[in-house]
């Protein structure tokens, strides 16, 4: 059995080593895969704040991922067409600058999370899963039928947005950016979990009534967790859109929400590095199994089933020999 701390260190080291090795071997595609894994990992780290610490099983986190993606898509689209976004009372210029896009993505998804959280957190259990799913579907269908930004076809952005001091079109530099963002998200999760807020939230997941008795409001704790969680996933969405230089309604799809949960479960629920391991494995499976057979989802399904039925703590659970927190 290995301590969780060592696993965490190894995973991060591996995440850095693969692209550096790929750089040395001149295999830019591997760097792109690693970038994809770190962006997906970051989205799942966001979800893990609500799911792992707060016990909020949200089947609608694609909303924030998609909002982040569309924040990038819409701003870059307006910059690309040199037409300001006209809202009647004010005109917003488009932008090609990542920091501007990121701030927009985080703000928009945090606001959406606040609104969705306020409404959804009135329910619990299955009803919560279903109402978050319903919100996801609302955004999905809205993005499909809103033809101003591509509708079903999505929006293509021809040039990746810029970051001061970097050439984002160089794969390793963009990877560095995404990996740094992932580390920031991990740091946030880690600090959050150890903070009084995180402790209270963790308690609210396990025994809400006692938390209430000591004078804390579990509802407010959960709402804050949901907002932070949505904001992190939103930022990941903006990066994902920049990685593909494309946004489409699939970023809002419920399958994506499901996949984010899958990433967390493969690694281990409520573990700091769970989503990172999950995303790395998911992208690796997608690449290798996808290369072997067109039907790799069958095998992904089988692996998932085995993990759910026989390895409740995910991969970290197997390696450390300890079950994670129950959600």
């Amino acid at each position: 059995m290995i301590g969780e701390r060592y696993i965490n260190g190894l995973v991060l080291a591996g995440f850095l080593a693969v692209p550096i090795w790929a750089l040395a071997m001149d295999e830019p595609f591997t760097i792109t895969l690693a970038t994809r894994a770190s962006v997906l990992a970051m989205a799942a780290v966001g979800l893990n704040i609500a799911l792992g610490i707060g016990g909020l099983v949200s089947l609608g986190h694609a909303v924030f991922f998609g909002l982040g993606g569309y924040a990038m898509g819409i701003l870059a689209h307006h910059a690309q067409t040199h037409a300001a976004l006209d809202l009647g009372f004010l005109a917003i210029e488009g932008s090609r600058s990542m920091p501007v896009i990121w701030i927009t993505a985080v703000t928009v998804s945090a606001l959406a999370a606040l609104l969705i959280g306020l409404l959804s957190l009135r329910t619990t259990g299955v009803y919560f899963i279903m109402i978050t799913l319903a919100f996801g579907q609302m955004f999905f269908f809205f993005s499909i039928s809103w033809s101003a930004y591509g509708g079903e076809d999505g929006l293509s952005i021809y040039v990746r947005n810029g970051f001061p001091g970097l050439d984002t079109l160089v794969p390793i530099q963009f990877f560095g950016l995404c990996f740094t963002a992932l580390c920031a998200a991990l740091l946030l999760h880690w600090r959050l979990r150890a903070s009084p807020f995180g402790m209270a939230l963790n308690a609210a997941r396990q025994v809400p009534r006692r938390v209430e008795t000591v004078g804390l409001n579990p509802m407010r704790l959960k709402l804050l967790a949901f907002v932070v969680s949505g904001a992190v996933t939103g930022l990941a969405g903006a990066l994902f859109a920049d990685l593909n230089r494309f946004v489409s309604p699939t970023m809002f799809s419920w399958q994506l929400s499901g996949e984010l949960i899958v990433l967390i479960i493969i690694g281990g629920v409520g573990r700091l590095m769970g989503p990172v391991i999950g995303a790395a494995l998911f992208v690796a499976l997608e690449h290798f199994l996808g290369g072997l057979t067109d039907f790799w989802h069958v095998w992904l399904g089988a692996i998932l089933l085995l993990i759910v039925l026989f390895a409740r703590g995910g991969l970290i659970g197997i390696l450390t020999g300890k079950d994670g927190p129950r959600v």
Binding site: T124, I129, M130, I131, A134, M138, V298, L300, L304, V308
Partner: protein, 306 residues
């Protein structure tokens, strides 16, 4: 906007609603009795449709196709229950969501493997095709009318089964207190398998019936599955009555919204913007309905417990 159009659309909405009910009834029973969230219910719908299309293609008989759909979905349901689902009854909702999500992946890709990516077609039999004249000069497709009839028939049978038969008593008792009825000598695990297979058969039947008016393809189950979830959440999980009323609400909202919302917006907007806004809003209408119901009554219209 004529009265005929309105009546036609109401009938379309009812037809969609009763088909949703076939899905939702199984889902709500499975959740009510076993406490299981079954995302793979849409896959059983797909299995039914594919079995029907394959058998109809081989024999040309629609009745045999329906029987095949019922049998295939019930078999698939039984196998899945015994191999996987049985282990999930006591698990957390998260595990159930995930395991049944995994089942969707396996079923969908497995079907694509066997049948290929191209849609199959299931034809409406001659004796049910063509329009029929209704009072008031309305021409309406006979098959769709037959679907409404079939759905209502299933609803009545289910009501009779759950409230008037021994099995129904056991099912209702299982919802309330599984340990007590196990102590009274009811084989609970056989009851669970039976309920699951029954729900699966209903989903398969819905798949076959709807497959004749749409194409039979991989992934056809998921949109219906999500709407069926919306239905049972609106109706209150575990309630057959709730599922029935929820289905009709959702079916009517979706169909009528799609037709009339764009028309409504044309009253005060220009045509292009009205079509755009109306259809965007219409596609979101059922989800808005569900959120409003949940915010108003967090356990649905007829739900008892969370």
């Amino acid at each position: 906007m004529s009265a005929i159009l309105i009546i036609e659309q109401v009938l379309n909405g009812l037809q969609f609603g009763v088909m949703l009910f076939l899905m939702a009834a199984g889902l709500t029973l499975i959740f009510g009795v076993m406490g299981l969230i079954n995302l793979a219910h849409g896959s059983l719908y797909m299995v039914g449709a594919f079995a029907a299309a394959a058998v109809a293609g081989a024999t040309g008989s629609f009745v045999l196709a329906l029987i095949a759909a019922l049998a295939a979905a019930a078999c698939a349901g039984t196998i899945v229950e015994i191999v996987v689902i049985r282990r999930l009854y006591r698990a957390a909702h998260l595990d159930q969501v995930l395991a049944t999500f995994a089942l969707i992946l396996i079923f969908s890709e497995g079907t694509r493997w066997v049948f290929g990516s191209f849609p199959l077609f299931l034809d409406i039999p001659d004796y049910l095709s063509g329009p029929i004249a209704l009072p008031g000069g309305i021409e309406y497709p006979l098959y769709r009318l037959a679907l409404i009839g079939a759905g209502v028939l299933v609803a009545v049978e289910l009501w009779w089964l759950t409230s008037r038969t021994r099995i129904g008593i056991q099912i209702r008792a299982g919802e309330n207190d599984r340990e007590m009825i196990a102590a009274l000598g009811v084989d609970i695990s056989r009851l669970y398998t039976l309920v699951f297979a029954m729900g699966a058969a209903l989903a398969g039947l819905a798949g076959a019936l709807v497959g004749a008016i749409q194409s039979v393809q991989v992934g056809m189950g998921e949109p219906v599955l999500i709407l069926a979830f919306v239905v049972i959440v609106i109706g209150g999980i575990g309630s057959i009555k709730g599922a029935f009323i929820g289905s009709l609400l959702v079916g009517l909202t979706d169909t009528l919204g799609g037709v009339f919302l764009p028309e409504l917006f044309k009253v005060f907007m220009d045509v292009g913007a009205a079509t755009q806004t109306g259809s965007a809003l219409a596609s979101m209408a059922v989800y808005i309905l569900m959120s409003v119901v949940l915010i108003w009554r967090p356990t649905g219209l007829f739900g008892m417990r969370a």
